[in-house]
Amino acid sequence: MITLPPSERDLHAYVDGQLNDADQQTMETYLAANPDLAKQVLAWQLDVQNLRAGLSGDLHRPLNPELDPAFIRQRLRRSRSRQFATAAVLLIAVGVGGLSGWQAREMTLVSGVPAMADAVQAYRMFAVNDNMASDWNTGKPNNAQVWLDKNFAQANRLPDLESAGFKPVSGRLTSTEQGAAAMVVYKDAQGRTLSFYIRPPGDRNHLLPRGTRRDGELQADYWSGAGYNYAVVGPADDPAAQAARQALKQPI
């Protein structure tokens, strides 16, 4: 029910024919008595008429067959089957990738990469190089253990090889496929070098039984514990290094 004088909204509702019959009637009576307002309303009504007339031509444009619903449906089906095709190709690709990945893993386990090869590689690259940039060295306020604990939570204690004359002199963080790794380099008075290497076991949690292997002139002793894999790498035939390995076998 509208009130008089009518609000502007009611006037627009009148123009748009959105008043109920009674209100429509009330409005017409009111407008008849108020010519100025009636003029304004009439102008709006004329605009509506002009718009309808002016825009009616656009209703009669020639048909565009590409807009026919049947055509659109066809297009949709085609693009859907393209999507399915793409998805199928992707699935196949993932399948092939997964299979070869699995095969690669089998190969790794059976024959391929020897245990803790990265530790040996790190030894060759960094440990014997005295100019190696280090993340920790004896000049730092903290000892090697504190430095290591900052980067590897709850790792095994660094092996105490002092009985064989080896002391930690530097440490370096590196990254590997399995995650962040660290190497602590030990040296004795004669400059002989051993390394202690720690890294996560990797995605497949590939833990190692305690073992030893020879790699050229180097020997790697490896084991797993506390969520990490470890290795000690050093010259294979050196007596001082052998003594250090004996020390390693003591409970850490």
Binding site: A13, D47, L51, G54, N64, L67, I72
Partner: protein, 170 residues
């Protein structure tokens, strides 16, 4: 299925007209209709409300237009940076039936929402409630925006203001 297509076919001229009023260009209007129909057909089973099919289609078309417009505005702003040009120049279509040229010219200069509002309410005769649902605003808001659109159209038709209304009313 055919029944649905017939309903759509019947509304096609109205969709195309609405699209032209938004894009001011026949071929991009048809592109807009096409993408809106795709959207409507894909969403038919899940999204179609019980009410007026026309209002639902207008609402899809309007959103598609706003999305595309936003994208192209971003693009033309970028273009402007490089060329120093101005966006949004348009020539009123000469193909249009010349019946009420002044009103039409004024209509063309309204902003997007005002054009849509006047077309929905004045030309298509949608109810305020339907328009409120399309724009997702209260009915009262529809009424006050409509009132402003109508006044802007009036002023522009009378030639009292020459700058596009969207600059003033935004």
């Amino acid at each position: 299925m055919n029944d649905v297509d017939d309903q759509l076919r019947e509304l096609l001229p109205r969709m195309r007209r609405f699209a032209v009023s938004l894009t001011r260009d026949h071929s991009s209007a048809d592109d807009l209709v096409q993408s809106s129909l795709e959207k409507a057909l894909s969403a038919w089973d899940s999204k179609r409300p019980d009410g007026d099919l026309r209002a639902w289609l207008f609402s899809i078309l309007y959103r598609q237009f706003l999305d595309a417009h936003r994208r192209s505005r971003r693009y033309s702003r970028m273009l402007e940076l490089f060329t120093g040009g101005k966006e949004d120049h348009y020539e009123p279509s000469v193909e249009r039936t010349v019946v009420a040229q002044t009103t039409l010219q004024a209509f063309e200069r309204l902003n997007t929402e005002q054009r849509a509002l006047l077309l929905w309410v004045s030309v298509e005769g949608l109810s305020y409630n339907e328009v409120a649902a399309i724009l997702d605003v209260p009915v009262g808001t529809v009424m006050s925006r409509l009132s402003r659109a109508r006044q802007a159209l009036r002023l522009l038709s009378e030639g009292e203001i020459t700058t596009p209304a969207l600059r003033i009313l935004k």
